[in-house]
Amino acid sequence: MLFIRSVILVIISFWGSAPGQWTDAAGPDIKTIAVTVDHPALEDGPEEMSLRQVFEGGASSYFFLEVESVLCADHICKVVPVRLFWDNYGRYKRYELEPGVELEKGEGLPFEKEDYEQLDRILANEESALRELSYADITQTKVHGEVDAMSGATALILSDQESIEGATWTCFTLWHWVHGEMKNKIREAYALTLEQRQLREMLDSKEEEMKLFAYESLAYREDLEEDTEWALLAQAPRLTLEEARIICTAQAKWPLDFRVQLSQSLLTNPAEAVRLISLETIDKNEQEEEFKPLLFDHLETISSLPEADKVLNILGRYGPLMSTEVDAMQEILKEKDLLITRRLFYFLQNQKLSASQQSVMDDFYRQNSHYL
């Protein structure tokens, strides 16, 4: 009797649903998505599973998946179904058991109230050491003072807060479902339900997770709406490095004229690392001369050697400079700090120069010969 009371307490305190309820797995507002996912305890590789997407008020609200509590090689463990819940961004929310079903620890003991609470905390910890454990590790892992004679060594990995005595298998199995490949599957599934308009709105969110999700989702799309292009151009000067990486990786699938505009906008970003990523992206475009004017423009504003080096490396691939371009560069020779002008000087040394242009070079050399 004592144990029934504890189970009921757990149901009330954790799952937020009344005892006896088990979220419907089918219905008009539930979409079933077939996903193929791997798990470190699956011996035969990835399996196809049914991910459920739940809609509320016509909009995607959350996802859930029914799994077995333990993937157990020797089949000596008691296995019960467990439902795992995520939000639209693949973040763990909670787990559910079927009414009357309980999880079990070693030697057939049922979970106590604290064990259910502990399991919830373990599953909520994305940084758990469980991430680094393999299936083999678990078989060799010594936790809670249990001696493991196989390793002959301290295969001690999990702290007591990261496992439940006698239920390490369960913790391991469920944690890897929660934080494994399913997260990206959920994000992909959610992204497919959204229109570009909704993703554009997310770009202004104060929640970084939502913004990253929006950039990731847009990065999958080849046909950007005009408003989306405008939104990205507007965001580019203030993108974080992580956001800029997502956008720059996606650029290859977008039209050239938009890429040029986007690069121009990214090069105004105050973070040097973002500007460098943008230049690396231009670098990968190789011979597309449409970028040449913006590189010349950027050279005038440059304040760091890495950027100057990158720009000159790209410009060098476009072939010999025109005389007017040499003139423009020589103007910069007079303005920038020596690390940049020295790089420029060496670059111009290899160009065809007029007598007056050579004279500028000679002057520079005389003034800075100690550093050249």
Partner: protein, 641 residues
């Protein structure tokens, strides 16, 4: 924990050895081992009758006794840093506990309770382990012996003496060691090894003991160092030695007939001695001592051979393990792997408390992190108790001070390995071979520095510890909480360092003096693809003749060889794919880039490029390839004139 009752020795004897440092008489009249008078040798080739005169006196700067992972690291470090060095080993192969004679896994810091489960040792020990995957992917122990021999024997400035035991010390009047008297059994030659510094890494430490270096055996009382895992009263408890075995599958039922010296295994009485694998023997086939473990070694060896066969007999003939029907013994150990005997006293005794509080030492030279894993000396004769008490584990590496690695009373004597200045409880963690190797590299480096600066180890510790720490950091040792600040490193004076692409980290981090990622602290630069390049730019030209690069070998992944292939899971049985394989170094001279060094098939995390001095304001390192990874990851770049 209850004190064991089955040892015959009195508690009083154990108590005495635990409380009072045993002082050994300094031998001022060593036996002249090579003196012969009764031979009647008719040498047919020469047609003469004579007496063999096989006595030799040799002179070195540094003599290292014992060639386990600690001694090898000490000898190589000493030689690399300029000291003429000899490595003396009493076995026919190098490697000590790790050799094919014993086959103990080269474990290191692992199973930490943190994001970094593994915090692998770098420097000399890593170089040997990576070489092993290059030359010996088949994981053959005899081949590993030769990999180690190849690694050590190609080191210039270093001589190897195998089958040679240092059995006595000749002392100067000043109380320092003048010579090690050694017997080389294969040549019947007595060697007098004169050296300025002696490093005893032999484990049992016979040379150090005969020199009169203070040492302890047994367990300290809890009160002496406030160690919670120590016994209330000091005793003689010394962790035992183990005999291992390796089996193979004959793919048909095979009988097993035990030898006459087999001692039956009483499985029904065994506590925590699970038989859940059949490949590599059992570390709990182990015997220690409560009194004089060195005196007991041969008796224990004979019994361990019997117990080992006893366990196998139980597996094969009890009917309990049908899965072992097709298995046979393929290799059996005859030389037990030892865990503990003498602990020589230094200026500092490292304790359980130091380790558990992660005490910062100004003279730290390395680290450890194996759990406090105290084996029961009764071992397989004390089945009612567990074979080991895993007292506690660590969240992160603890520091090891240099003051625990030199003798408090013999001025020119250092030590590394299991015989260093730690308490019994501390030894239950520091004894691991990866940790011992770091100690070895530290004392070898220290010996060379003492030589070049005319210092004693104590003077080095007290007044010049920066010298030692900077050299170790330069040579790719990691010292927690001690970033490098080497003023000679010209890379630190560059105006700009940048990569041609950056996936993670930042090129500037390569100059921050920490050459690995720490928990939640990144110290690397990683390109987004390969090939990739790094550039360093100085305002004024610098005279440069050496560039050091610390590349990635994934220090959070284990790298050691195993007897049991099941333990290879999650390891990569090859040179780490992350490691830079091929590179070119260019210097900018008069505005043009010029190749000054190149490297292919690199196997070192610490890449050292030496070249004719060049005066340059920019260097460019072109990383052309790795051993498999798609990105290039680097932790440090240094430049020296």
């Amino acid at each position: 924990m209850k004190r064991r009752k089955f040892f015959k020795q009195t508690a009083g004897a154990g108590l005495l050895s635990g409380l009072l440092p045993l002082s050994i008489r300094v031998n001022d009249d060593p036996v002249n081992l090579g003196k012969r008078s009764n031979d009647h040798w008719e040498q047919m080739g020469k047609g003469k009758i004579g007496i063999p005169k096989r006595q030799k006196t040799v002179q070195y700067d540094v003599a290292v006794i014992g060639a386990g992972m600690a001694g090898i690291s000490a000898a190589v470090a000493s030689a690399r840093n300029g000291a003429k060095t000899v490595l003396i080993n009493d076995r026919p192969v190098l490697g000590g506990n790790a050799s094919s004679e014993i086959r103990v896994t080269v474990n290191g810091v692992q199973s930490l309770q943190n994001k970094h489960r593994v915090e692998r040792e770098t420097g000399i020990i890593e170089e040997m382990l990576i070489d092993n995957w290059y030359f010996n992917p088949q994981e053959s122990y005899p081949v590993w012996d030769h990999v180690v021999y190849d690694y050590v024997s190609q080191q210039s400035n270093l001589d190897i003496m195998l089958n040679t035991q240092a059995i006595d010390a000749v002392m100067h009047d000043s109380g320092t060691i003048k010579s090690a008297i050694c017997w080389q059994l294969t040549t019947e030659t007595a060697f007098t090894i004169n050296a300025k510094y002696f490093i005893d890494c032999s484990g049992d430490g016979l040379l150090a003991a005969t020199a009169g270096a203070e040492y302890r055996t047994g367990r300290e009382a809890r009160s002496e160092f406030d160690e919670s895992f120590a016994p209330e009263v000091a005793d003689g408890w010394q962790m035992g030695a183990t005999l291992m075995m390796i089996t193979k599958d004959m793919e048909k039922p095979m009988p097993y007939y035990p030898p006459s010296f087999m001692i039956p295994y009483q499985a029904e009485k065994a506590h925590d001695r699970k038989i859940n694998q059949f490949k590599e023997g059992y570390w709990w086939v182990e015997l220690g001592s409560d009194d004089d473990i060195i005196a007991d070694q041969e008796t224990n060896r004979h019994k361990l051979m019997g117990y080992m066969h006893g366990v196998w007999n139980y597996i094969k003939n009890s009917g309990e393990f049908p899965e072992a029907d097709n298995l046979v013994l393929d290799w059996v150990g005859s030389l037990p792997g030892r865990r503990e005997s003498r602990r020589f006293m230094g200026d500092y005794i490292l304790t359980q408390k130091d380790m558990e509080t992660y005490k910062h030492f100004e003279d730290a030279i390395g680290y450890g992190g194996w759990s406090l894993d105290e084996h029961n000396p009764g071992g397989i004769e004390n089945l009612s108790e567990p074979p080991s008490y895993f007292h506690d584990r660590f969240n992160k590496p603890y520091e090891v001070p240099f003051r625990s690695l030199y003798s408090k009373n013999i001025k020119n004597l250092m030590f590394a390995g299991r015989n260093v200045s730690v308490t019994h409880i501390a030894l239950s963690s520091t004894r691991i071979q990866g940790t011992c190797a770091l100690m070895g590299q530290a004392v070898g480096t220290a010996a060379a520095l003492c030589l070049s600066h005319q210092l004693s180890p104590r003077m080095l510790a007290q007044n010049n510890i920066d010298l030692l720490q900077e050299q170790l950091l330069r040579d790719d040792v990691y010292i927690p909480n001690r970033p490098s600040r080497d003023p000679k490193d010209l890379a630190r004076q560059c105006q700009v360092i940048f990569g041609d692409s950056t996936a993670t980290g930042d090129a500037k981090l390569l100059l921050d003096g920490i050459s690995r990622d720490e928990i939640d602290q990144i110290h690397h630069w990683s390109s987004s693809s390969k090939p990739a390049q790094l550039q360093l730019e100085w305002l004024e030209a610098q005279p440069i003749s050496e560039v050091l690069i610390k590349a990635d070998t994934n220090l959070q992944r284990k790298i050691m060889m195993h007897k049991n292939p099941d333990k290879n899971e999650e390891q990569i049985l090859a040179v780490p794919p992350e490691l830079v394989r091929e590179l070119v170094l260019e210097a900018r001279v008069a505005g043009a880039w010029k190749e000054i060094a190149q490297l292919s098939d690199n196997r070192r995390r610490m890449i050292k490029l030496s070249f004719a001095p060049v005066q340059t304001s920019a260097l460019r390192i072109k990383f052309k390839d790795t051993w498999g990874a798609d990105q290039v990851k680097i932790y440090e770049v240094r430049c020296y004139s």
